[in-house]
Structures are given as structure tokens and as C-alpha cells.
Amino acid sequence: MLLWQRIGWPKRYTFLSKLLLLSALGHSTLLFFILFFYKGENFTYSLNLDAQDMTVLFLPFQKTVATQKIVTTAQVAGNAKSGSSRLKVINSSNKSAKNKNTKTKNKNALEKALAKTPETALAQAEEKKGKNKKADVAKKIDEPKSEEKIVAQQEPAQPKEETIKPEVVDLFDEEAVYVGQQDLNALELRQELLQEIEQAWRPPVGLATNKICKVRVLVDWKGKAEDIVFEESSQIVAFDASVRHALLTMQFPKSSYGKELILPFH
């Protein structure tokens, strides 16, 4: 059979099939490249999840937000009260800033010196260092008063600079319980049911103070109790009767239609 086919296979068919194969190979290579390697700058990927009317919410796992502290007048006043200690801190910070400046200056000088001749430059640099040190000491002796004055003038504006600090705020409260939509619906149904039943059920006072009556109720599509089964009786006729009466006369909430409820009455 195959032999017969081979014999009868025309050449143009072979050519066309080779062409088709080549084209398919080329296309597949191109698609493979596009799909798995090249995604482009504006590549978008969309995913739709739809499982039985359940909406899926993508919540960020953790988010950091840089916020600015609001500085109240009371805080400013408080800052002003603790003036002496604050002044010391500011002074020390200014000093350290100045020291940094001198260090950078020294570094530049050393670089320049090294660029010229190593030995003379070093000697010059050391001399400059000594001068700078002397100048610094002189400045230190003169400066404190002026610095204090400056700081005292700048004080009211100072807290703003200090309070603008980025803070990490956790959007997720550790104590809160995060539930999915299905759980939320179930919780709402339970609350609604509990409210309706507790409104309808009015037993006589003083019955079965420490006993439980567990009931299985099937709610029909009109919101009425279709089938009531006492899984656990309180052994008190009046108590059980009050439960049965309440369930048979009440209108169940829409969310419970067609559902089976297990209700433990206390």
C-alpha cells in the first residue's frame, strides 16, 4: 500500500509539503521567540479569575508610605522648653558638619599637592593642615556665641526639619482578621440569621438555663422552615416547643433560602 502510494506521489506535492513544513517551522520559531524571550516595553499580561461568582481581590502584601508628622504648636512649645538640651545637640551637629568641611578641604589640598610633586606637595599640605587647624581652633573659640544666637533665632522653624522623616506604616493591622469574600458572605448570613431568630424566639423565662436544644432546619425557597429535626433535645417540652414554634412562624432571610441550618438554642 505504502509502496503504491510512494509510486503515485507527485513531485509537486512533495514540494508543497516541504514549503508548508518550512513555513510552520518559521512561524513556530517566531512565536517561540515572541512568547518566551521578547516581551517588549509595553508588554501587558492580563488574567481573569472567575470562580462561581467569587470575586478575587489582590491585596498588596505590604506597603510602605512616607508620611510627614504633623507638628502641633504644643510640640513646638515643648521643643522651646527643652531649649538648652536642644541647643547642645544642634551645636554638636554644626560642629561635626564643619569638621566634615575641613576634612574635604584637606583632601582636595592633598590631591592637588600629589598632582604636583610628591615630597614638596606633602610638606605644603602639612603646612596647610596646620594652618587650617589653627584657624579652626580660633574659630571654635570665637564661634559658640554666634552659633547660639543663630540657633536661638532659627528655633521655631527647627522642628519642621526634624519631623519630616519617612516612616514605615503597615497598612495591615495585626489584630484584624482578613477574610475572603466567601467567608464574609457566610459571616453576614450568620449575623443576619442570628438577628432574625433571636427576634422571633421568645421562650418563657426561667426554662432550661443550662441546657441546649440543637435543631437542623431546612429552609425552602419561600423562606419558611420546611423540615425541622431535633438533633439534641433539651428534654424540656416547653423549651423545645418554643423553639419549634419560633422556627415555624418566622421568615428566614433571603441568603438562607435552600440551605440547611444547624441551630443550637441555649
Binding site: 424540656i236 417540652v237 416547643a241 414554634h245
Partner: protein, 442 residues
């Protein structure tokens, strides 16, 4: 292939028909309401009507049920029973008189099934007694607790002739009687009779009371036939007997030492009277020995005794708790004016009266939790508390417009109900235990 197809079809069917289950953790009653019950009276005659009316009063006295009576020609079919549900009755009691008693059948109107049914024999000639016996049988079937409708209340009542020559007699009446129709005179001696109390022998009901004589106040026992016997006639005051739970020992007050062997005293002291099986003799032991007055003894749990004593720090009466084992006394109240303790074993609670803003109010002490709780706050002075056997009701005397009336406080509904009329001066109520037969004066 067919098998696989059938299995798949079955699985699909089950999956489609599976009902979603919702389970709630706890349903608690937020509001309470009297339950409507119907008494269906079959073959109604005069007696049956009276009995059903009394049963209705008994059930409604508790504040838990609202009862209606309807005459029914015959025991209904299931559909007819279900019709009562539409009219708002979850339960129906069919009452049928017979020659020897009454038959009752309790039905659930939703299922039209009989829950319980019994026959109660007519004991005695009192229709009230039959009704109380019927209510006592019906009550456990409804609530799961023993009935108390056959109990009585004994009390002292002031009787005056033409507004003069007033005397205090001893009367008894049904505990659930608020109209006074069952009131019977027990003691009508031409003197003052006070502080009656019931004994604990459930077969032989008896009342012990104190009677004023020219020389002393003696203790007398009287049975339901009116037969009286002096039981304690020592010098001074002999009164306020309290029986032990078994009913074989008593504690009461004496204002003088009964024998020369006892140390003399001029104030009221408590004495314990019992039969000693070793010496085969009756023993008489003094329990208290202080300078104050000790009174209102009341047997407590685990061989203990509650009483009131003014030998306190503030010199006013307060409640004490005496232990027979180690012979030690503890103060339950110390900072006020508290008297009239009464203990109920079924609820394990003590009730007493305590002065609040110059008015004596009812207080409760839970022996289990050791907590005190004020029960009343109305402007009448209360005294002489006594528990019902069920532990849900407390009888006491309340002073209204200068006269003392008997009242019952319902612990479940928190309501106060007067059981004697406004014009009468009644005091010292004592609620009887549930005797084998309802005490009726012969």
C-alpha cells in the same frame, strides 16, 4: 461502560442536589414571653370546669405561661390538633374527667403527637387539691422541674372584734392563692400566736408556733387535725424553730437557760435539740454564747446554720454562719442591719432582709459564688422571708400603709405579687415543703 456512565450520573446528581449547610455557634434568648397553652376540656362538668380554672391559675402564677380554656367535644383528629398551632398555641393539654380522677394528655400542635399523658387520682374532697395535684403532674412534663402547687403558706393574722381586743391567729392557705379562697384557720387560741413554721416530716405535716402566756412565750406544735401539744415551755421566750433537712434535729431560740447545768443568760441564745444514738437520750446543746440576741435560725448546707445576731461590731443585727463541725461562726454581713435568713437547698441560696436607705429590702446570698445581690428596691419594709420548694419564689411580709401584707417575689420575672388583701394584717409567712399529701385542716 454502562456502569461507568451510571456512576458518573449518580455523582453529578448528588453534587447538584447537595444542600449547603450553615451552622450557628449559639442562639440565645434575648426576649422572654409567656408561652400560650390551651387546656382542651373534654366532657366538661362543673367539677372539671372548677379544676381546669384552678390549673390555669396555678400555671399562670409562675409568670411563665398564659393559659386559655376551651371546651372540646371529643379528642380531635391530627388535623384539628394542628389547627391550634395556627391559633398560636404550641402546646395543648386535653383534660378528661373520669370517675376516679382526671386524665391529661399533652400534645405538640406542630406535629400533632402526644408528648405525655397521665391519670391523676382524686385525693380528698377538695377540688382545689385535685387541681393542684394535676398541676404538680403537668408541671414537670412542661418544664422539667418538680411542681410546688400543692404547698401551703402558714402565717399569723391579726383579728379584731369591733376594732378592739385584737388577737393573732394562725392561718394556712394555698401558696398560689392570691384571692384568699383557700384560707383556713389553724389556731385560734385566745392569746397571741406568732412565728409559725412547718416541720420536715413529709408524711405528717405539722406547724410549730409560739404562744404568749402570762409567764412566758411557749412553743407549741399543732397538726392538721388541730391537735396541739406544748413542745418547749421554758422560762422566757421559746420560739423560731428550724428543722434540719432530715427533720430529726431542731435549733430554736431561748431567752433563758433551760437547765441549771447551762450557764445563765438574759439574751436570746440558740439551742440545738437532737437525739443522741449513743446515750439513747435527747440532748440539749447551747450553740451561741455572746452578750447579744441571737435569733431567726435557719439550717444551711453541709451541716451549717444561718442566724441573725446583734452581737456585731455595730450593735445591730447581722447574719451569721455557724458550722457544726468546727463550732465556728462567721459573719455574712457586718456593716448594716440584716435579719430573717432563709436557705433554699435546691438553688443553694440564702435570702435575707437588709436595711437600705432606712427600708428593709430583700437580699440574696449565693452560697456557691459567695456573692450578695439586692433583689428588691420598692418602698415597703420586708421581713420574714421564706423560700418556695422550687427556689424561684420567696414569700415575705411587706409593710404597706402601716399594715403588713403577705407578698411573693418571683425571681424569674422579678415581680412582686401580694397574696393577702390590703385591709388584712398578716405576718410571719412560712412556705411548707411539698408533703406527701397536701396539708388540709381536718
Amino acid at each position: 461502560m454502562k456502569k461507568i456512565f451510571c456512576t458518573l450520573a449518580l455523582c453529578v446528581t448528588l453534587a447538584v442536589h447537595a444542600v449547603e449547610q450553615v451552622a450557628l455557634e449559639e442562639v440565645n434568648a434575648r426576649q422572654f414571653k409567656k408561652m400560650s397553652i390551651l387546656i382542651g376540656l373534654l366532657k366538661a362538668d362543673k367539677d372539671a370546669t372548677v379544676v381546669s380554672e384552678q390549673v390555669k391559675k396555678d400555671l399562670e402564677f409562675t409568670g411563665q405561661f398564659s393559659v386559655d380554656i376551651e371546651t372540646v367535644d371529643a379528642l380531635s383528629s391530627k388535623n384539628q390538633v394542628r389547627q391550634w398551632f395556627e391559633k398560636g398555641y404550641p402546646l395543648v393539654v386535653y383534660l378528661q374527667p373520669s370517675s376516679s380522677g382526671y386524665e391529661w394528655h399533652l400534645y405538640d400542635t406542630t406535629t400533632a403527637n402526644m408528648i405525655n399523658g397521665k391519670k391523676v387520682a382524686k385525693l380528698g374532697s377538695s377540688k382545689r387539691g385535685w387541681a393542684h395535684a394535676l398541676a404538680d403532674e403537668l408541671w414537670p412534663a412542661l418544664t422539667g422541674t418538680p411542681g410546688f402547687f400543692s404547698t401551703k403558706v402558714v402565717y399569723g393574722k391579726e383579728v379584731c372584734r369591733r376594732g378592739r381586743n385584737c388577737k393573732k391567729y394562725i392561718y394556712i392557705r394555698d401558696a398560689t392563692d392570691t384571692e384568699g379562697g383557700s384560707e383556713e384557720l389553724l389556731v385560734a387560741s385566745p392569746t397571741i400566736s406568732v412565728s409559725p413554721r412547718w416541720n420536715r416530716d413529709l408524711q405528717n405535716p405539722m406547724v410549730l408556733y409560739s404562744e404568749y402566756t402570762k409567764t412566758n412565750v411557749r412553743l407549741i406544735a399543732v397538726n392538721m387535725k388541730g391537735k396541739r401539744k406544748v413542745v418547749s415551755d421554758f422560762e422566757g421566750v421559746n420560739m423560731q424553730v428550724s428543722y434540719s433537712p432530715e427533720g430529726k434535729e431542731v435549733v430554736y431560740c431561748l431567752s433563758r437557760a433551760p437547765h441549771a447545768s447551762h450557764r445563765p443568760h438574759l439574751t436570746s441564745q440558740l439551742y440545738h435539740y437532737f437525739f443522741d444514738p449513743y446515750s439513747q437520750q435527747a440532748c440539749f446543746k447551747r450553740l451561741t454564747s455572746n452578750a447579744g440576741n441571737n435569733f431567726a435560725p435557719c439550717w444551711g448546707p453541709d451541716n451549717t446554720l444561718f442566724f441573725a445576731s446583734d452581737a456585731s461590731k455595730n450593735g445591730q443585727p447581722n447574719i451569721c454562719w455557724y458550722d457544726f463541725k468546727n463550732k465556728k461562726t462567721a459573719w455574712l454581713t457586718q456593716d448594716g442591719y440584716a435579719t430573717s435568713p432563709s436557705y433554699n437547698p435546691s438553688s443553694n441560696k440564702l435570702v435575707y432582709t437588709k436595711m437600705v436607705n432606712k427600708i428593709m429590702q430583700l437580699f440574696e446570698f449565693d452560697v456557691t459564688t459567695q456573692q450578695h445581690r439586692q433583689l428588691t428596691s420598692d418602698p415597703s419594709n420586708k421581713d420574714d422571708c421564706s423560700w418556695s420548694p422550687c427556689g424561684n419564689l420567696i414569700s415575705y411580709s411587706a409593710e404597706v400603709k402601716g399594715k403588713s401584707r403577705l407578698a411573693v417575689f418571683n425571681l424569674l420575672t422579678k415581680e412582686q405579687l401580694f397574696i393577702t388583701s390590703e385591709g388584712e394584717d398578716c405576718s410571719y409567712p412560712s412556705w411548707s415543703p411539698k408533703y406527701a399529701q397536701m396539708p388540709v385542716i381536718a
